[in-house]
Every structure is written in C-alpha cells, then in structure tokens.
Amino acid sequence: MAIELKMPALSPTMEEGTLAKWLKQEGDTIEPGDIIAEIETDKATMEFEAIDEGTLAKILIEEGTENVAVGTVIAMLVGEGEDAGDVEAPAASDDGDDDEGSDEVVDKPGEGKDEGRDEPGGASAPKTAPRADDPAIPDGTSFTSVTVREALRDAMAEEMRADDRVFVMGEEVAEYQGAYKVTQGLLDEFGPRRVIDTPITEYGFAGIGSGAAMGGLRPIVEFMTFNFAMQAIDHIVNSAAKTNYMSGGQMRCPIVFRGPNGAASRVGAQHSQNYGPWYASVPGLIVIAPYDSADAKGLLKAAIRSEDPVVFLENELVYGRSFDVPYLDDHVLPIGKARIVREGKDATIVSYSIGVGLALEAAEKLAEEGIDAEVIDLRTLRPLDKETVLASLAKTNRLVVAEEGWPTCSIASEIIAICMEEGFDDLDAPVLRVCNEDVPLPYAANLEKLALIDAPRIVEAVKTICYV
C-alpha cells in the first residue's frame, strides 16, 4: 500500500511552511533516515527525514511552494514490490485533512492549540469539605510552658520514634545540635543514620531529600534559614511540588522543608526575607507558618505525616518564646485551618507567624481605646482557610492584614483579593494591609526599625478602617 508523506509540523508552533527543496526525486529509493526534503518553518530550515523505506513514487507539491499547511500530503511512497506507476494522488478532499475550504485552521484535539476552556463545572476546582477543627483537648489536660524551639524538636523526635522512615538532614543539624539548636539532642537519641549533617550544599541536599522522599522515605530537610533555600527552590518547586501531578498520582514526595524564615535582627538584607508568599503561590505545596509552641508542635507533626511536600516556615525571633503546650501523647493539628486567637467584634486582624504577636499587642492597645479586635492566625498559608477569614469579616465588617514581609504580591494581597471577590458585601471599609516597607532590609538599627511592621502601625490601620 502506498504511504502518504504529509507536510510535517516541525516545531511546537508551526501551522504551515515552505517546501524549500526536494532532495529526492520521483523514482529514487528511500532508506529510513534519508533526508527527503528541506522545509522552511516559522523558525528555521529543517530537514524532512524518511521513516519508511520504499520508492518515491510521486511528488505532489513542487519545491518552492509556500504556505503548505501541516498535514497536506506532499508525496507518495511505495513499498517493496509495488509499482510506482499505480500510485494515485489522494483525492483533493483528503488534502490538509478536514480544514478544506476554510482559511482558519481547525482546532483539533491534540494539535497543540488552545482549545478554549471547558464548561465550568467539568473542571472547576474541587470544593473543599469544611475543614476539621482542632481536636478538643480533654478536660483536665495539663499544660506545660515550652519554647517554640523545644516544641519543634519534640515534634520531630516523637515522629521519628513512631516511624523509622522519618529522618532529618541539613547543615549542622547533628553534631553541632542545630545552628539554632532546634535539633538539639536528636543525634544522641537517633544516631547518625537518621540525623545527617550535610555539607553546605542546599541545592544538592534539597534534591537528595526530594529523591529520598520519592524513594519512600520521609525526610525533614532543615535549611539553616530559608534565605539559603533560594539555591534549592528549584527542587522544592520543580521536583517536590510537581511530580505527583506530572506522574498522574504515581510518584509522591512526602518531605518537609523547614527552617527559620523572615527578618531576624540586624542581619541585613540577604538574611532577612519572608518567603511565605513565594511558596504559597505554588500548587502542589503545603505551606505552614505557625506562631506559638502548641501550633508549631501540632502542625509539624501533621506536616511530617502528610503525603504531600510541606514548606514549614519558622521564625528565629520566636524560637525562644514560651507558650503553653497541652501535655498529650499525640498533639496533632489539622493542616489548612486558621485559628481565632482573640475574639472580637469591631474589626478583624489577619496575620501569621511573628505577625500574630504584633497583632495581639495591637489588639490590647485597641481595647484600651474601646475597639474590640478579633485576631486570626492563618497558621497554614496554602491551602488558605478562606472560610475562617470570611466568617470573621462577616461578623466585624472590617479587616486589616498584618504581615512581616513585603507588601507587593504578599499574603496580604491575596487576602484582600479574597475579601473583594467573596466578601464584598460584608465590607464596611476597604481592607488595609500593614506590611514591612517595600525595601531590602537595612542594617542600621534605626532604619531597620523603620522598615519592619510593628504594633502601632497595626493600631493605626485598624483605627483608620473604624473611622476613628
């Protein structure tokens, strides 16, 4: 049977091309791999290679012809034992497939053109079920005051005791006991197999951690600070976050990337940055940024157990603060659930991480002035608990976002967008954001203070939206 040679698509964008030159003539024998013709695409001149063997029976498109549509039959090939003379050119209606009589290229499935969006509904984002509340703490549970640092360590130690697949790797995590002492004591208890000191090689060990997760382990990768994870962000985003999707659900990457995030104190611009908004923009990642010890512990345990890759953002300035933690065998909190840390009725302050402390401080000051502010700790930045935010807005009708980070393309921007899209009718005033100044963090003490968010600024903003 004669084989039709069709005008090939030779680039992702090519729709037509020029048949520049025939390198084989009618009657020539063709071997697979022979270059039959040269074709000019939208980008370059390309060679058209034979796949099948046979004899070139008929050339249907003269060389030099321009605007030959992809798919047009340009020549006929016959196989062994067939007679080139018998070959008929295909009927004209076969030419260029089914876009006959129309200049417009028909948009066929699988042809790399935008097919437009499907009807909403077929492919709409799944509605999330109402999120679970924090598990009730049984009456009579005692609380102990624990630093955030210890709470994080306890979470790791408990999960490592429960599951041999869990291990910690990072710079100075083992023998040095952690650059910020978060992994203190883990080497003694679990040994060097499970508490692994790495060289200073973030890109490399983020990749090794991700690969180990793909291979069935549950790594906790500590970054000395998230500033240094910039070198590793490729693995966090491209390797860890996307493989489950790209593999159609075959290949998971259950890993926790954790470490201090955000501004520390007087360490200058390169060591002071909040990456919350960066990671929270990536589908396939879970992003958690707790404030107090109980949340740090309960959420880190949940993160380690999660089948999904988690970016767990801590804050150096909060490590040493002590908070009550319930004394329970297994204190695990739900990922994706915000917490109302102070109830109020006049205005809502939404924050996370170190900003929660400032928001609470602001709420106290506002109370003295007769404004009863509600404070929400987002705790998880992705998926974001819109419901809790919108419910609070519906109650107070006024909202401020307080974020230790830059204002542009921030979590604050996102919350404001959500309030516009889904809470517009509840708004009695514009939503304001209180963030750091939009500059690299300066070193000088006075300038640094000017650049960073503080409670008085939150107070000011809340008063503004309350019109007092």
Partner: protein, 375 residues
C-alpha cells in the same frame, strides 16, 4: 569560531584515542588506563580485561529486539509529532539505544531504581513497559502512563522503580542521590542508576551530589550520556574537561569510559560498575560515548553539525547495525532479522493507533493529583 583550549588546561595530554572517539571513530575509545593523569582507573582496568559482554544468543536477540523497538518507536514518535499529534518538546533517543539497553539489562529490577532527564522514552521501553501507554502519554491521552499529564518529558513508572522523566537539566542527579540514599537507609540491596547528559554534567548540583554520594558511600551509578551536544553546543564549546569520566576525581569517584554505541561493551562495563556499587564501595561515574542522530528536540534544525558527521555515525557506528553484524556472523539469516523488524513495526503501529484513538483526559482530571491528601 573555534576557541583555543585555555592555557590553564594542564597539557595536551589528551589521549589520541579519546580525541578520535570524539571525532570519527568511536571504535577505539581511549581508556583511562591510557591516561597517565587519571588515578581512579581501577574499574576501567577491570573492564579493559574483557570489554565485550559474553552474551548468549538469546540475550543478543533480546538486545537487538529492544534496541530496534526504541528506534522504531522513536521514529514513529517523530512522525506523530509531524502530524501534530504530539506537541511541545519531544526529545528522541535515536542513536543512543545501546546505552539504555546495555545498562538496564544488567539491573535487578526488583531492587534497583533508575532516573533520567527528559530524553526518557528509551529508558521506559527498556523496562518492557507497554509501548501503547508510553505513546499515549506522548499524545497526552487518558490512557498514558501519567494520565496524559506529564507528556514526553515526564514519564514515570514507580511500579518498575523508574523515577522519571525530569525537565530541569541536572535535577535528576541530585534526586538520584536521594533514591540511592533511600536504598542505603533501608538496606534493601538496591542501587540507583542516574543518567544525565554531557550538558547536564556542567551543572553545579551534579558536583554537590558527587560529593555527598562519595562522602556517604551511596549506592549510585552516575551515567553521563555523552552524545556530544547539549542542544546546539558541542562538548568542546561547553566543557573545560571533556573526559567526563575524570570528573569524579575530586570526589574520589572512580571513572569508566565506555563506547556507548556497542551494547555488548556497555553491558560489560555495567557488570563491572554495578558489582562495585553493590559491594558497598560507593559511587561510580561512567561516561558513555554516544551520538544522537536527530535534532535535540523536534524543532531543532541541527545546523551546528554537518550532515556528513551524522551520516558517518549512522554508517559506521550504528549500535543496531553493529549488533546485527554479530548476529549474522553467528548464523542468523537476514530474513530472521527482517521478521523481528516486521514484528516490531507492528507493535509500534499499534501503539501509534492506540495513542491516536485513545480519549483525552477528562476535564475533571485538571484538579486531581495536585495533592495526595485533602486538607
């Protein structure tokens, strides 16, 4: 413009044989044992003792069949691309078949893991995976191995311990280090085979991984598939050291240089390398000299090399023709071999039909597999 090698390059002591392997005749690949500057050559010496794998007739026929399957599959993929059925980037493995088959045939598929970059169809086929579902992934269909959501560059079969299919040049090396770490951690006796290109060999994370793999004695075989070009850049224009097998030196990783156009030689080298790694002696770096006949991806006009250069490789170094010759010498008639080809063409034609006629993924798949759990 040809750039003169920089003066800091020690001497011109590049072995002549190696240089020739980079030009025309890769038959006589320069061995590190000929290379007086290279100290970590114990495995190469071992390999030199017997450079051709003593394959049984059945094994040889199987190698032939598998290489031919890759060749015909890739030719068909190129054709389907031309017809607009495959979109985006599509990197063909034509010319490099002996590398995947020679190496992967020596693996223990119950234990060992494999990871590679985006030029991954051949490595998938080497597992004997159904060509239908691989082709259907290329055409972005529901029946594809990643439900059509990965495409040519992102194919995985965790069932076979094949971990992809990665589009960021070099990333698979560090991820492979992690797979090796998992083998060691679980003490499951497996090793990881991590492939990367000559271009990828210049990525920093490759050396970060070499360092940790050697430091921690990870069971990993690093394989540079040196097909002599990274897109349009020849190794000479990109690499201060083109003898990639030496690049583990600073990390004390022994190197091997292998003619990647000869499946029996590749397999022989694999035996030596894998044994070393399995015995817990740490990583090995293998340089497989090979050649890709087609452009980098489908839209590459390949103007950075001459047609003669490609033709010379096809005519004188083709891995399939080379094995065919051995098979004919061993008494297999042309007709037997033609029958194999016919059979494979049928398999591939069926895969193409399947890939063309399968349904596209349902719109609802858009939001599946983003996360594993619900939150």
């Amino acid at each position: 413009m040809a750039r003169k090698p920089a003066a800091r390059k020690t001497t011109g002591k590049k072995p002549a044989t190696k240089a020739s392997s980079k030009e025309a005749s890769s038959d006589e690949v320069g061995a590190p044992s000929d290379d007086p500057d290279f100290i970590l050559h114990s495995l190469q010496d071992e390999f030199e003792k017997s450079k051709s794998f003593d394959a049984s007739d059945d094994q040889m026929l199987e190698f032939y069949r598998q290489m031919l399957l890759i060749r015909r599959f890739e030719e068909k993929a190129g054709q389907l691309y031309g017809l607009g059925l495959i979109g985006g980037f599509c990197h063909l493995y034509i010319g490099q078949e002996a590398v995947a088959i020679g190496l992967q045939s020596a693996l223990d598929n119950d234990k060992d893991s494999v990871i590679t970059g985006y030029r991954d169809h051949g490595h998938m086929l080497a597992y004997g995976l159904d060509p239908d579902i691989i082709m259907a992934e290329l055409t972005g269909r529901e029946a594809g191995i990643s439900k059509g959501k990965g495409g040519s560059m992102h194919m995985f079969s965790t069932e076979h311990k094949f971990y992809g299919g990665h589009g960021i040049v070099g990333a698979q090396v560090a991820l492979g280090g992690g797979l090796a770490l998992a083998h060691q951690y679980r003490d499951d006796g497996g090793i990881c085979l991590a492939y990367f290109g000559d271009g990828a060999a210049n990525q920093g994370q490759v050396y970060e991984t070499f360092n940790m793999a050697s430091l921690w004695n990870l069971p990993i075989v690093f394989v540079v598939e040196d097909n002599q070009y990274a897109m349009g850049t020849s190794t000479k224009r990109s690499s201060a050291e083109t003898r990639f097998y030496r690049r583990g030196t600073s990390f004390r990783i022994p190197g091997m240089e292998v003619n990647g156009m000869d499946v029996l030689e590749v397999r022989a080298a694999a035996e030596v390398a894998f044994k070393h790694v399995r015995e817990g002696k740490g990583p090995v770096l293998m340089e497989l000299n090979t050649y890709r006949y087609r452009g980098h991806s489908m839209s590459d006009p390949a103007k950075y090399r001459t047609r003669e250069e490609v033709q010379d490789q096809r005519d004188h170094h083709d891995p399939i023709e080379r094995l065919k010759k051995v098979l004919v010498e061993n008494g297999h008639g042309e007709d037997d071999l033609k029958a194999i080809d016919k059979d494979i063409r049928k398999i591939v034609a069926k895969a193409a039909d399947f890939a063309e006629s399968s349904a596209e993924p349902k719109p609802g798949e858009l939001y599946t597999d983003v996360l594993v759990e619900e939150y």
